[in-house]
Every structure is written in C-alpha cells, then in structure tokens.
Symmetry: C2
Subunit: 383 residues, 2 copies
C-alpha cells in the first residue's frame, strides 16, 4: 500500500517536524469528553503547540479559556481572539506593564503568584493603573515546585494584600508535577485527588475569610486523564495531551499510537561494525530531553519508525550531537538491523513533545483531509 | 561601584540571552594566535553563534574559511560574503540541489561524506549539473561518530568514485568528539595527535594513489587548544571556543571567567523551608543540556551569578521545567543562602553554549563600547 503521505514527505527538507492532525483531534476529543463527564471546564495549556492553528483545534470555541507559559503566547492568542487567558508562571513585578497592555486589548488575562511580596507588587500596579488585575494564588499540592500549602496562614495574608490593594482574587490553582514520576491510572488518580483536596481546602479557607474565590483550577496531563471525582473543582488544565509523547506513553497515559508528533530525518551514514545508523536529527531537532531515562523502559532520544510512522522493533535513537543522531538496536534485541541506505527517510517519536516542538519553527501537517495536505503551521517562540 | 551594564539589564525582558563582547573577542584572539603559532589556518565553526554579527568578529577577514552545521547557516553566511564554507554534516542526496544553489551564488561550499554510496550520489549530481562539487572525506580518528578509518581500503574506493564521477576531492577531515570526555591539556593533546595522525595518514594514502588531497582538516575546541604539533595538517576547526561554557571549563579548556554567554533571569518565588529560589529560566531558556553531569563537578543546569555576572559561591540551577528553574545551594556548602527577593535579576552560566544559545532568537550584547551598548544580534535557526 502506498502511503498517502509519502509524496509530501519526499519533498520535505530534513530534519523537520511532522504533526498528524487526526491524532491531534482524537487526543483533544478524548480529554474534552472526560472534562464534560467530570463536570468541569477545560482550560487547555497552549504552551505545547504555541500555534494559532493548533489552538483553534484545541479550544472548543473562540470564547474558551486557555493557559499559557509566556506573555508572548498570551499576546499571540489574545490577537487570535482568545478572551480568557491564564499566565501560569509566577509573576515578576517587571512583567506587569505587559500584562496590562494585553488586558487593554480586551483579553481577560490573569496572573499567578504565591507570596505577599508579589501580591503587594500587583496591588501597587493596580492602584497605579487605576484598574484591577485578576490573580490566582498557587497552591502546593505535592511539593513539586511553587505554591503555598492549603492550610498556610499566608494564604489569607496574600488574599488580603491583593483585595485591599485593588486586585481581584480570581481563584486558586495547583499543578501536580510529581504525577509525571508515577505510572498508571491508580497512581495518577491519587495525585488528582491531592490536587482537588488542596485547592478545594484553600478555596474554602479563603471564602471563610470573606473572599470571593470563584475559580478552582487543577491539572496536569496525567491527573486530568485519571481523576475520578472533581467535586469543588471548576476547571481542568492540561497541555501535552494534545500531542502526547514517549514520557506520557511510558507512564500509561496514552499508547504509542496516540503520539501525534514526530521528527522526520534522513539516513546520512553507517558504522556497520558497531551497528550504528547515523541520521541528520541531533539534539537541535530532538531537544536534549531524556524524560524516559528513569522510566521502566528507557527510550533514548526517541523511537524510530519508517517514513509512514511504522515503528521498527527495538530501534532507538541512542545518542545525539548538534546535528547528528545515532540509531542502534536495543542490546537485548533479537531483531536484525534493518537495511536503511543513505537517503532513507525515518520518523522519530519524541520523549517530550513540548521540548521537541520548541526546537522547530512549525509543523508540517499530515492532514486527514488531503485537500489541505501539506500545510505548514508556524509556532511562536521567545518570551 | 555601579556596573555599567545595570541600566541595560534593568530594561530587558527575562529570560534572555546576554553576550559579553569583550570576552568573545578575547576567546577569538586566543585561538587565532594559537593557530598562527601552530602554522595552520583557522576554520571557525559558525554553528555556535549562528549570527552574522558574531561571525564578523570570529572570521579574521571576509575571505576567511568557515564551517557550518546546516545549509541554512551556509545560506546566511554566503549572503554575508563568506566565500569558503564547509558543511560538516554527512551529506544526504536530497540536499545536493541546495548545495548547488548556494555554490551558484559564488560561495565555494564543500560537503562531507564517508561512504561509496554518498560519493556515487555526489558524482551523479555533478554529472547531472555539469559542474564539480568539492568533497571532504570524513576520517574516524577516535571511534566517536562517523568516518572511515585512515587505513581502510574504502578510502581509495570513495576517492575513485568521486573523481571518476566528476566531483573534486578537496581533502580529509576528522573531529575528535571523544576529547570532550577527558580533562586537561595532556589528555586533549593526545586526542589532537590522534586527529593529526589519522588525517595525515589518510591524505598520504590518497596521494599515493594519485589523488590530490590539498586540505587536511582537524579540530574540536579541546584539541585545538591543546595541540602541540600539527605537521601535515593545513587547517584547524573549532566552534564553542567563541563563547565557552561550563563543560569546557570543567575539562580545563577555559576558566569560568572566559564564559561570554549567560541567561538573564528574574526571581519569581521561594520555597524557603526547602532552600529553593524559583526563577523564570527553565529548559526553554537554558536547554536541557546536562553536559557537566558526568564531570568531576556537576554544575546542574548552570551556575548562578548576580546581574553583573559575579558568581554566588555554591549556588546552582538544579532543576528546570519549561519556564521554571529552581536554584539551590550545593548540599555540601557552608554558605548561607543569599537574600534574593522576588524581582531580583540573576545571570546563569550555561553547560553548553551551543545548546543554550539555540533556545533564543538572538543576543543582547554587553559591549565594551558603551556607544553601541544595548545592541541585539539576531540568530538564524532551522535547517
């Protein structure tokens, strides 16, 4: 069978990034249906795609909520018409003028913080500008990174500093980053319950002190796909679920076949005595992410398939330099090394979709609609 | 003392990339003088800087030789006026039309290969186009990646396929990638001698078979700074020496003070109980390169200095996610954690300059000439 994508692939310069639109749509639909059945709104994190075309497929309607990891993403998606955006990195005082500029375009951009010092800086900016900035307080549910504990007395002090200063307390937020380190639905559901309990407790404490705290926001791709009960939660965030990757497959959140993103590469040499196949995808094309290194199965820098995406058994991208990759058989393999002459096109599934996609200017789309086959969707970059 | 750069730094959005021009110039001068005293030409690798402004400081004159890692770099530097460029990644047949297009602009672009299959593809393209393409044969001097052994019978077969097919055998080339794994001038000098011996032997074998082989090209940053005798070699390649980094400092090629590149970041939070300082430089700003992980001193994702670049003793960027970094004291440290409130600017020295620079659109230049202070030098990207 001649693959419908072969003609496109033969015209592309390598290395480059391929995105299978049908898999993207299937991944998006899966979490959308989960959120509906759990009775919460979805706030997709657009940091994985960083693309207007991806965002238009991820957001259910233009009025949908979104999360971003940089203000340059916020600027892009606000211009696209997204009207409710949460900037999910703790705010520094220097970034507040840009936040106000984005808000002045009609986008309801909110910020995140976890300290009285930040709350006072936001409040001071609100007074200076004569307008309110909506704020989420970050709650630490699993000791992963930032956030205040849900039972901390600081919680009400932060809220107080915000509200008396003229800012708006929009809600509380947590992200169970530690959920990436465990495998299976049961383990992920436990982290989902940690997220739920921490944010609901924090919201209750704030409401008991007289604060409105309308939004209770939780999520990570593993917990979003495993949560059993989100009572008290109002919205669910996730990002990498749109593309999925080997890290997510390794902890059981998706199958290898769900991964929508791959890097197209070309064979440029061999060291036959060593069983090495050299390709033109190095860390510049793959990123240096080794997210599967501590998983049950280490996938090196990626799994190797043919140009149609069919994986070769036990073939792994094991080493990378800037523009070179080395493909080998797993030492344990009983398979023989396939014959892949110089010039052969291969596709590499990435460890971490966010990191690999960030190495590229955009996506060559393998569309299920052949009429629009061969589209290029640009990515934004920078901060 | 008020630092002359403070005013610039206070205006920059973070994270962003800083380049100290005086250190760049000092690093460039150091290797230029070495090459002169060794009696070889320098062919700087422009893959580290990927910038016209950096290249104009690295190349001694516009007619100088350069090496590149992508054809998009070759296009940029050919347009800038560089007239002798070597594309140092093994050529795939699909890239030859672009090679010819660049050559047609008047740039003497040469390609690299290490197999008869590639030689036949280049020869076929030469016949098809009615013009010669200059070719380097890659020699394997240390088992690191590609190349044929200097005593391989394949060497003359490749040369034969090239020359009878109408291509030009320009020379032989090697790169001792394994030199990055050892420390100190003595060890690096041994790899330099491996490079020299392998390429000179290969050139002699080719010449004995009647082939012209005018260029004998060796180099890596560690071997270039340690070579004692380059008899028979005609040119020396190196790239990361322009900026240097923690990996190069860790194996004794430079001092920490020679590192010209850093990432400017802002403190966005604390977890005081854990001794964590959170900053807005994650892997998107630093890359995921962990090149010092297996060195004598593991520098995490980078060493931390104040906004003037003065390093804090024992302060390390220990963990990164997409847009978050976590700074800690080394566990062994007797130092107390400095007080760095939210909003404080810090500078992080990178493990690997090529990888960190590739995460950014360009360089904010800390110039020794205050009249041109605050320049931005854009980088090229993609392939």
């Amino acid at each position: 069978m001649v693959n419908e994508h072969s003609n496109l692939i033969s015209t592309l310069e390598t290395p480059c990034l391929l995105l299978e639109e049908a898999k993207l749509q299937q991944n998006v639909l899966r979490l959308r249906q989960r959120a509906q059945s759990l009775g919460v709104q979805l706030r997709p994190h657009l940091k994985t795609g960083k693309s207007v075309e991806v965002a238009s497929r991820v957001l259910e309607q233009p009025g949908a909520k979104a999360a971003v990891s940089t203000l340059s993403e916020a600027e892009l998606f606000a211009k696209m018409g997204v009207r409710n955006i949460l900037y999910t990195v703790g705010i520094s005082p220097q970034k507040l003028d840009r936040v106000l500029a984005i808000r002045s375009t009609g986008c309801d951009l909110s910020v995140l913080l976890d300290s009285i010092a930040q709350a006072e800086a936001v409040a001071a900016k609100c007074r200076e500008a004569g307008q309110s900035i909506p704020v989420f307080i970050e709650i630490d549910s699993d000791g992963h990174r930032g956030g205040v504990p849900s039972d901390s007395p600081e919680l009400n002090l932060i809220a107080e500093a915000l509200v008396t200063g003229g800012a708006e307390l929009r809600g509380v937020l947590t992200h169970a980053g530690e959920s990436y380190g465990v495998s299976g639905t049961t383990a992920h559901a436990e982290f989902a319950e940690l997220e739920r309990r921490a944010t609901v407790e924090a919201a209750q404490a704030l409401r008991a002190a007289g604060h409105a705290c309308p939004v209770v926001s939780v999520g990570s791709t593993p917990t979003a796909h495993a949560a059993q009960d989100l009572t008290g939660v109002t919205e669910l965030r996730a990002g990498v679920y749109t593309f999925f990757d080997l890290v997510m497959a390794g902890i059981g959140v998706c199958s290898l076949d769900d991964i929508a993103l791959s890097v197209l590469t070309t064979v440029i040499g061999h060291q036959r005595d060593k069983g090495w196949i050299l390709v033109d995808a190095g860390w510049m094309a793959m990123s240096r992410d080794r997210g599967t290194a501590n998983q049950a199965v280490d996938q090196g820098f990626g799994l190797v398939g043919d140009e149609d995406g069919k994986l070769f058994p036990d073939l792994v991208l094991t080493a990378v330099s800037q523009e070179h990759g080395t493909i080998v058989r797993r030492p344990s393999s009983a398979q023989s090394l396939p014959d892949l002459p110089v010039g052969t096109r291969l596709r590499i599934l990435p460890n971490h979709a966010c990191a690999t996609a960030a190495q590229h200017d955009g996506y060559h789309v393998l569309s299920s609609n052949l009429a629009i086959h061969g589209q290029f969707w640009p990515r934004t970059s920078g901060w």
